[in-house]
């Protein structure tokens, strides 16, 4: 039972990170119809920002928000420089463009920083853990779960109660009508990228906090998983992204914990296989987006 609780806590922590990433992807997708492959590189940039802050000797409490800010700025720049010229193109064009941006950034990291993994200096406290009876929970896990929940609540508030948030929700349902209502496309899209950058930044900090290192490809695999989480949840649906993220976290952790040893090498393949099987049952995802199947004819 203890093992189960322990693993469930791990799952919430990992799933929370996936959820943050998937949410960032879903916000962009719902508004622009774009699958942003370069989302992972925002995470990596956050990691490098943390690394340099550590080298300069900035305390983590300042370094973390700063690194997230860098991710936001990077996301805005990415939109302005790389994605604006192709904004109204087909989904395939947007996807390929972002894929190219991701690869270019990865190669830049390799050349400008290092192709190898770099250590990130973190406060010792993060590595410690708290004991409840026989359970031991890492500080970074507690932090990760708390921060994820806070961010989700804040984002929910933002989307429901601010003008920009409401404009973004409206744009997610029908961008052209929203524009006709006088909402500026640039503002909505920039807002979406800022939020998505912030989410990638937070996820990046949480990821690095657990691993204490950063490498040029750090963001690639988690974001790949977040894509999968986003379609599992229902592509374009924000609630779905969160649900899909947590679901994938649970699937992965439980497989890692309970799969017999000789099947362990196939763990990731199996996890994705389960997701694809779930999609067979619900092709539009767990929580389908509002406009799925409502295309006007």
């Amino acid at each position: 039972m203890d093992v189960f609780i322990q693993q469930s806590i791990n799952a919430v922590s990992l799933g929370g990170t996936y959820a943050l990433l998937a949410l960032g992807l879903a916000i962009i997708f719902s508004i622009m119809g774009m699958i942003n492959f370069a989302h992972g590189e925002l995470m990596t940039i956050t990691g490098y920002a943390l690394m340099y802050c550590g080298l300069v000797g900035l305390p983590f409490v300042i370094a973390a928000p700063f690194a997230i800010l860098i991710a936001v700025v990077a996301a805005l720049l990415m939109e302005r420089i790389a994605f604006r010229p192709v904004r109204n193109s087909s989904g395939a064009t947007l996807l390929v463009t972002s894929f190219a941006v991701a690869v270019i950034l990865q190669t830049l990291f390799q050349n400008l920083v290092s192709p190898r993994s770099q250590a990130v200096i973190l406060p010792d406290m993060l590595a410690q853990s708290v004991h409840f009876g026989s359970l031991s929970i890492g500080i970074n896990q507690i932090l990760s779960i708390t921060i994820t929940l806070v961010i989700l609540v804040l984002l929910n508030w933002f989307l429901r109660h601010t003008i920009l948030g409401m404009a973004m929700r409206a744009a997610a349902e029908d961008f052209s009508i929203t524009r006709l209502m006088g909402v500026r496309a640039n503002a909505v899209i920039a807002g979406a990228f800022a939020i998505s950058g912030a989410l990638a930044g937070v996820a990046g900090v949480l990821w690095v906090a657990q691993r204490a290192s950063v490498d040029p490809l750090m963001g690639f695999i988690p974001v790949l998983k977040a894509f999968i989480a986003a379609i599992l949840g229902g592509l374009g649906s924000l609630t779905g992204a969160v649900a899909g993220g947590f679901a994938l976290g649970f699937i992965e952790i439980y497989l890692a914990a309970y799969l017999p040893d000789h099947i362990q090498p196939y763990r990731e393949a199996l996890a994705l296989g389960i997701v694809i099987f779930l999609l067979l049952l619900r092709p539009n995802g767990l929580v389908p987006a509002f406009n799925v199947g409502r295309e006007k004819v």
Binding site: F29, G33, I35, A82, P85, V86, S89, S90, G91, A92, T93, L95, V96, T97, F99, A100, V101, V103, I104, Q106, T107, L108, Q110, N111, P115, F220, L224, F227, I228, A230, I231, L235, P265, Y266, R267, E268, A269, L272, G273, V275, I276, F277, L279, L280, P283, G285, R294, E295, K296, V297
Partner: protein
């Protein structure tokens, strides 16, 4: 197949053979580069068969390539060698020793079977979801290859594969692949799939089983990519699982995208360009001597170069360098897409549709809380023209969508000739004689008028032969007076002509029941009068039942035998046009209570 197809294909073959002959005579590194080029080309052509025609990008094809390289490698490796390198392999693999040809055949069949299973899932997903699922496939297969250490040596190098791929084999396979890719694109399968790429819903309404078409092209494309995998394995001799992951996916996708994924010529152009650029950049990567200065070693120069090319092309020409045109369409624009057989201009006598009835019983459709249709019943007999009118938002289009199978009803039943067809998908209703046009025009915009109409004319293919379908197309085009513009791209036509193409396309399905959703929208009086005559002509010539929605009440009153009035999801009146016109409830629905009182006063005066 048209003359154009054969000329286009001949052009590619000539190009590839010429390149192979030149490279083979030079030999050395040029020959090696060209072999790699041919292998990449086969893979890109394979990816194009699926992605180009369906419009759905795939990251998963490298997985098929990987499976093929490993499987064919194991099958052809000498048994003695396997005893050493793959000591724990299962017996049937350890003892297998096939020649190149049979190993290729076995591998391609195996990969196509795998693709069939995977494709059943992926074909259910649309657009971006499908793309991400293919990404999942790549990760899964990568994981499985690493996990299956006994037969793949995990993430270590897999070696000992006989190096049997030479320039002749590679060129031969590339020619085969390019012929298959072009023939597929110009085949009925390709036509239907491209229709679904341009407009999935309209393709469904015209009888295209979109999932099935996607699945077919997915399996064929996996087969082609498998050939590339076999060749690559037997070219390299030793490789590791990294060869079949994101780096190479990126390069192949770049080839597919840069030239233009919609065409075979685009794949060829992209493969040539990216191969040349990569060769060039690879030489710079390690640092070169420029006027006495040694440039520093840069990691991934090729990657950045390819990335920048992609960005540049996407910014300037999102459809790729060749966009949607094959080389023959660019160089020989006047060669029309005529049939190669004897002219199919003999238009058969119009077939008068069999007697029949379409009946909807108490159809209810609710969108969450909003009840768009509330127990609506309606019938349509062949030879009858029924008008469906009502204020905006009264549920007219929703009713057409339900009856044509595009929206599932919440409750209620529909029948054709007394047989229950409730819940039948749109594409099958198309085959049963239900056809429609769309309120907001939904043509297959990248295709010619003739191709648009052919999609529905070929609904019963292969039962209906291509030539018979050609006659149906000619008849539909003549009927809607579109013969002149038949080779024009549909999206470039005027609004009125586009509406006519919509009707022609619906006609080519040989409907017994034709739904027209606001055919007169945006037309002036004269055009509407012309349309009125055409529609009357349709009934006389073909004898189908027509259900027409329009806001042009004079048109409805002159055309229809019977009018059904909807308001807020209810049928509020039904009958002859004259009686409906005077119905106080109808006047109230259109004008509100106050307005209706005024009208009543005028009528009584």
């Amino acid at each position: 197949m048209t003359a154009r197809t054969w000329i286009g294909t001949g052009g590619y073959v000539f190009f590839l053979v010429a390149a192979a002959v030149i490279a083979a005579s030079i030999g050395g590194s040029i020959e090696r580069t060209l072999i790699v080029f041919f292998i990449s080309l086969i893979a890109v052509l394979g990816m194009g068969v699926y992605s180009g025609n369906s419009g759905i990008l795939s990251f998963g094809h490298l997985a098929f390539m990987g499976i093929a390289a490993y499987l064919s490698g194991i099958l052809t490796m000498p048994v003695a060698m396997k005893k050493v390198t793959l000591a724990n392999a299962p017996d049937f693999l350890a003892n297998a020793h096939l020649n190149f040809f049979s190993a290729t055949v076995v591998t391609v069949i195996f990969v196509m079977l795998v693709a069939l299973v995977v494709g059943i899932v992926i074909s259910r997903l649309d657009g971006s979801s499908a793309t991400i699922a293919t990404l999942g496939l790549l990760v899964i297969v990568h994981g499985v290859i690493i996990g299956a250490r006994d037969i793949t040596r995990g993430s270590q190098s897999f070696f000992g594969v006989p190096r049997w791929t030479d320039i002749t084999v590679a060129a031969g396979c590339a020619v085969l692949a390019i012929v298959i890719a072009r023939l597929f694109k110009d085949s009925v399968f390709g036509l239907k799939l491209r229709a679904s790429r341009d407009d999935q819903l309209a393709a469904g309404a015209m009888g295209v089983n979109v999932r099935m078409q996607r699945l077919i092209s997915w399996v064929i494309s996996a087969g082609l990519v498998a050939i590339a995998g076999v060749l690559l394995g037997h070219f390299l001799g030793a490789f590791s699982v990294k060869k079949f992951y994101f780096v190479d996916t990126f390069a192949l996708l770049a080839m597919l995208i840069v030239g233009g994924m919609a065409t075979v010529s685009g794949a060829l152009a992209g493969a040539v360009l990216i191969t040349l650029v990569s060769e060039l950049l690879r030489r710079i990567e390690g640092g070169i001597d420029v006027f006495g200065f040694q440039t520093p070693t840069l990691f991934g120069t090729t990657q950045i170069g390819i990335g920048l090319i992609i960005l540049l092309v996407m910014y300037k020409k999102a459809g790729g360098l060749l966009d949607r045109l094959e080389w023959d369409e660019i160089l020989l624009p006047r060669l029309a897409g005529r049939q190669t057989g004897p002219a199919a201009s003999v238009v058969e006598a119009p077939v008068v549709a069999l007697e029949g009835t379409l009946e909807a019983r108490e159809i209810t459709k609710a969108f969450d809380g909003l009840v768009a249709l509330d127990k609506v019943s309606l019938s349509l007999k062949s030879g009858e023209i029924v008008g469906l009118i009502g204020p905006n938002g009264s549920g007219k289009t929703t009713l057409l969508n339900v009856l044509s199978g595009m929206l599932p009803e919440t409750s209620g039943k529909s029948f054709i000739d007394g047989a229950d067809v409730t819940g039948t998908p749109a594409y099958r209703l198309g085959g049963m004689g239900v056809s429609r046009t769309f309120q907001n025009i939904r043509l297959f915009s990248s295709m010619s008028v003739r191709q648009n109409v052919s999609v529905s004319a070929l609904d019963k293919w292969p039962l209906t032969k291509g030539r018979a379908a050609g006659a149906i197309v000619d008849l539909a085009l003549q009927t809607m007076k579109l013969t002149e513009v038949s080779e024009v791209q549909a999206s470039t036509l005027s609004y009125g002509d586009q509406r006519r193409v919509e009707v022609a396309r619906a006609l080519a399905l040989n409907p017994r029941f034709l739904f027209l959703d606001e055919p007169a929208a945006g037309m002036n009086r004269e055009e509407t009068d012309a349309l009125l005559e055409d529609l009357k002509g349709l009934r006389e010539r073909f004898g189908m039942g027509i259900l027409i929605v329009d806001h042009d009440l004079p048109l409805i009153m002159k055309l229809c035998d019977r009018v059904v009035v909807l308001n807020e999801g209810h049928v509020i009146a039904e009958g002859a046009p004259q009686s409906v016109q005077k119905d106080p409830q109808v006047i109230e629905a259109y004008l509100g209570k106050k307005g209706s009182r005024q009208v009543a006063e005028i009528l009584t005066e």
